[in-house]
């Protein structure tokens, strides 16, 4: 059994930042990730980030992963790759992990930061299991990490930032994007991303949804339909599109099964992506010693995930008595950063969700 001060589950932007922050305070940190390489979803993000200099604005996602990995190497952190945390055993406070394919390893930590990220949502429509229908994130992984294009002509379902960015990257890879549709009446993503694909001639059709997919064994087309303001299909507005690939980009759900297992109090908050853990300002859940950060805490983006990771990591270490003398400053700075990140119009949804979570938790 591995013993450590702070265990971090998940080596994406939140987990890497948590590991760095906890190690800086002086704690011994063990970072666990199920993949062969650290970085999480940053590895496939070839676009430059917004935000501020402190969180690497104007730097591409995979470069941010490299910066964080370099920082990690300078610190006292044990990294376990190819290792998946599969269970939490409450009575002993032990995490069970699958290492490789046939080894079981136990991990006991005084504090844990759960930074497991999120899972792509799927949609319900006839023939939604045809080969050729992907999550947009999966397509981004295929193209940007493995250099494989998914098809020739794509329908993107979802005009949020993921849908818009992946559409642009499909165009860059020489794939035709037939259209971007979204059931909402407005484009969810940033205007700057929407403008980039529109300039390439890709129509963005709001108030449209998928009625059905069709094809003989593989995806050959989809029927889309306009919806009214209650998201009900309007008969007679159907359109057929010849496509061999459909990307579903309709949002993410926090990946929180380990928190459920641990008995953390959970609430259903749509603005935060679904069932999310109740947490305090230090990102500690209702189970003492278990912290959460990043998309597992609420669906937001990598910049805020990094700041949340820092807060969780700092506090996990500090509550054990570790402090390099900068705890108070660092914590205050990070909390302020989060507030700033969420202060603009793009932060309204998250702020409302967090408010609702706080109210319901009382």
């Amino acid at each position: 059994m591995i013993k450590t001060d702070v265990a971090i589950i998940g080596g994406g932007p939140a987990g890497l930042s948590a590991a760095i922050a906890a190690a800086d305070m002086g704690a011994h940190v063990t970072l666990v990730d199920r993949n062969q390489e650290l970085g999480g979803q940053l590895l496939k993000q070839t676009h430059m980030f917004f935000g501020s200099r402190e969180e690497y604005a104007s730097t591409r996602g995979f470069d941010i992963a490299n910066i964080l990995k370099e920082e990690l190497k300078k610190r006292n952190v044990d990294v376990l790759l190819n290792t998946t945390v599969v269970g939490y055993y409450k009575d002993d406070g032990v995490w069970g992990m699958e290492h490789g394919e046939d080894k079981f390893v136990k991990l006991k930590a005084k504090k844990t930061v759960v930074a497991t990220g999120a899972m792509e949502r799927h949609l319900l429509f006839p023939n939604n299991d045809l080969p050729g229908i992907y999550g947009a994130g999966a397509v981004q992984t295929l193209m940007n990490q493995y250099g494989v294009v998914p098809g020739k002509r794509v329908l993107m379902v979802g005009a949020g930032n993921i849908g818009l960015i992946v559409s642009y990257q499909l165009l860059q890879a020489g794939v035709e994007v037939a259209a971007i549709i979204d059931a909402a009446p407005t484009i969810g993503g940033y205007l700057v991303h929407a403008s980039k694909v529109r300039r390439q001639g890709v129509p963005i059709m709001t108030s449209y949804t998928v009625k059905k997919a069709y094809g003989n064994g593989v995806l050959e087309g989809a029927t889309i339909v306009k919806v009214d303001n209650r998201f009900q299909p309007i008969p007679g507005t159907e359109m057929d599109m010849d496509i061999d690939t459909m990307c579903i980009a309709v949002g993410l759900n926090p990946l929180v099964e380990l928190l459920w297992q641990a008995g953390c109090e959970m609430r259903y908050i749509p603005q935060l992506g679904g069932h999310v853990p109740v947490k305090d300002e230090n990102y500690e859940t209702t189970v003492e010693g278990i912290y959460v950060a990043g998309d597992a805490a609420e669906i937001e983006e990598a910049t805020s995930a990094m700041v949340e990771g820092r807060i969780a990591g700092l506090n996990a270490a500090y509550t054990m008595g570790f402090d390099n003398g900068h705890y108070c400053d660092e914590r205050e700075k990070a909390i302020k950063r989060l507030q700033d990140l969420r202060s603009g119009p793009v932060g309204v949804k998250i702020s409302n969700g967090l408010l609702k979570l706080a109210e319901e938790a009382v």
């Binding site: 059994m1 998946t84 945390v85 599969v86 269970g87 939490y88 055993y89 069970g96 699958e98 394919e101 046939d102 080894k103 079981f104 390893v105 136990k106 899972m119 792509e120 949502r121 799927h122 319900l124 429509f125 006839p126 023939n127 939604n128 299991d129 059905k212 003989n216 759900n253 990946l255 099964e257 380990l258 459920w260 297992q261 959970m266 609430r267 259903y268 749509p270 679904g274 069932h275």
Partner: protein, 92 residues
């Protein structure tokens, strides 16, 4: 060709099958899970659990936060018996 709207890809469970069960009175996620194995396949519900919740909520007219969510138990993903039976180094 029969057109299916699949909720659970691992266990091949459709919306129609779930709605039929609700019509029969099995309107708890837990019951549907036990009868159909929806969310009990290799992915352990990572994709379908939220779709199942969505179908049950819209068919029963209940709000999602009123629904009872089944207990999550280890392991969170499929793991070989060899690994579990082998145990950790200190158990050998």
């Amino acid at each position: 060709m029969e057109e299916k709207t699949v909720v659970c890809r691992c266990e091949d469970i459709t919306v129609e099958e779930i709605e039929e069960l609700i019509d029969l009175g099995y309107d708890e996620i837990e019951e549907i899970k036990r009868i159909t194995r929806c969310s009990m396949g290799p992915c352990q519900g990572r994709t379908c659990r939220n779709l199942l919740i969505q179908v049950v909520a819209s068919k029963t007219g209940k709000k999602i936060d009123e629904l009872h969510i089944p207990t999550y138990r280890p392991p969170a993903k499929n793991i070989k018996m060899t690994a579990l039976a082998g145990g950790d180094e200190d158990e050998k």
